[in-house]
């Protein structure tokens, strides 16, 4: 399963809800305001720092750039829109809006 999260983790529980039910081998894709979860050094960085041990975690590059995010949690994979398409082909998608 590919879980997509597009809301800020500071304002919305979608990421935490998603991580609670995701299973080993799933992939997590952060996009739009969801990419703030990939930032290192925030009060909530531990969520994704833990998640990368169980899941492949991706963040959309255009959304990272738009928000000025360069200092990311190391294991997060930066993904292009092309990578997004490949992931959608590979997995069934569960969008946590």
């Amino acid at each position: 399963m590919l879980h997509t999260v597009n809301k800020s983790l500071f304002q919305n529980g979608a990421l935490e809800n998603c991580l609670r039910l995701a299973r080993d081998g799933d992939a997590i894709l952060l996009l739009e305001d969801g990419v703030y979860a990939a930032a290192a050094g925030t009060v909530k960085s531990s969520l994704i720092e833990q998640a990368v041990k169980r899941f492949a975690v991706y963040a959309i590059e255009a959304d990272l750039k738009a928000r000025g995010l360069g200092n990311l949690i190391k294991e997060v994979r930066v993904a292009s829109y092309g990578d997004f398409v490949d992931l959608v082909e590979k997995y069934p998608v569960h969008a946590w809006l």
């Binding site: 304002q11 305001d33 930032a39 909530k44 255009a62 959304d63 738009a66 928000r67």
Partner: protein, 133 residues
């Protein structure tokens, strides 16, 4: 509504780019400034993410509003503040936040002033109205 000299505050609490809220808040700041109201602007909670350095929306295919934020002082929106705790929680250094204009004489960049929650709360208590985004 627009009564000259009335104390109004715009609070920005949403993250930028994912929705239209921050863009709309800037429009409203400019309108209030035009009516010469006693305006304060506070970025707090996810609103401080609009002050993150290095934002580039080119690949999203949208213009973004970084230029508007950088010109707030030109529009005489000068009482602009950011919440210290919100910056800290999001790993944004206080001295890294974007400038909202330049000093006329020295050309030095002017940044939003970083305040503690108690200072912001006291300012809020003194307003006639608060418009939240």
């Amino acid at each position: 509504m627009a009564q000259k000299g009335k104390k109004v505050m715009v609070t920005v609490r949403k993250p930028p780019h994912g929705s239209i809220y921050v863009q709309e808040s800037i429009e409203v700041m400019f309108i209030f400034a035009t009516y010469e109201m006693d305006l304060s602007v506070v970025f707090l909670d996810d609103g401080v993410l609009a002050l993150h350095p290095g934002q580039d929306t080119k690949e999203l295919g949208i213009k973004g509003f970084m230029a508007s934020l950088g010109a707030l002082v030109d529009w005489e929106v000068t009482n602009v503040y950011a919440d210290r705790q919100s910056l800290k929680d999001r790993g944004i250094a206080e001295d890294a936040i974007i400038a909202i204009g330049k000093d006329d004489d020295s050309g030095a960049p002017i940044h939003p002033r970083v305040l503690d929650a108690a200072e912001i709360a006291a300012m809020m208590a003194a307003q006639h109205s608060i418009v939240s985004f």
